[in-house]
Symmetry: C2
Subunit: 241 residues, 2 copies
Amino acid sequence: MADTILVLGTWNSMFSNRVRIALLEKGVEYEYKEEDLSNKSPLLLESNPIHKKIPVLIHNKRPICESLIIVQYIDETWNKTSPLMPGDPYERANARFWGDFIDKKASDFLMLRRNHTRSLTVADPSIYDCGTRLYWKSKGVDRDEAKKEFIESLKVLEGELGQKPYFGGESFGYVDVAFIPFGCWFNTYEKSGKFSVEEECPKLMAWVRRCMERESVAKVLPDSDRICEFIDAIKKRFGVE
Amino acid sequence: MADTILVLGTWNSMFSNRVRIALLEKGVEYEYKEEDLSNKSPLLLESNPIHKKIPVLIHNKRPICESLIIVQYIDETWNKTSPLMPGDPYERANARFWGDFIDKKASDFLMLRRNHTRSLTVADPSIYDCGTRLYWKSKGVDRDEAKKEFIESLKVLEGELGQKPYFGGESFGYVDVAFIPFGCWFNTYEKSGKFSVEEECPKLMAWVRRCMERESVAKVLPDSDRICEFIDAIKKRFGVE
């Protein structure tokens, strides 16, 4: 019997896009279901009863939750091609460390100011869940601080990338999968945020472009126009210039 | 050449105690260095330059950081005895999910009120780092809410444990390692916190007792008297009854 593979996600979620990229890297065909986070499907709620969040991978009716755990599951299940994790335990621990770092700093990359997220969640869960940034809503000092934290975290990652083509070394791996869904937003910051990630972190932006040339990444990640439109809608909604 | 294995931690850190229990489960001898978190050692700062936090495992001079990543590293490196992770990828994803759940809820288990941690960190990083709970400092509604969140998270875990002797099934595994260092504090809540975890979650407390009978756990975790003394000192410091 053929495997049934279903991903529950949203088009603009960095977290569900990790899962889709990992599956494409493995050459695994899957069905995709776009969730409406303001009206979550019964399937999502019963597949992830603890967190009630996307993404969920449902493989032969068994749900797996939490994006980086799903990516590891994919790597271990379809282990004959395109390994995402390094073979050596120390290198694997290192990859997990950077995946975890990206998750811990996700609010910086989304330019969400951490202490404000709770009230935003309550006010409008769909906005929060899809990763829209309070940055676009904030002004003055708050905005400068969000930008500063964002750049600092990026520079740490640029340091880890070093001279390698990918975080995974010569080949696209786990940390690349974990981070590239954030990368596709960086271009739009130049237009919408009026500052240039290219200027601050040229090597990291070269890595973004390198990844975007991959079929898996290009297929999954939304294009800049769609993201800009989305950000414009948010700004309008909050009445921000 | 023999391996050199050093753990940097503190006696009352749930996170460093995970690492020590995992090493003992594997029968691996290690050196242990107690850190003073108000005056971190140069070795800690250079081994974990990103987070500057315990625990760190230094294996043949190579540092590994983040407690659950270290436990996975230990399991993968000393893989001939006492497997901590299940062999099946789906079961492994499930174990990682619960390990992650415990980390996400750690502030509940420590009865730290999440929205207050930031100011506490700034005021006294050593207090925060060693996991002392704002619960002991708070009163009235705040205290009731901390207790409520704590019990809710415990009941979720009790549900996952079900009728099994261990989270790992018939044998002590990854999720047991992740959670038992919190368990040894539950007894003290009865005395210091004036409520009974036993009454709320009898099966979970039976699991705590079962784990405490293991040599690895008994050797590493502090006894109730030492924890009660520690909590009393904190309460005195904050002038709380």
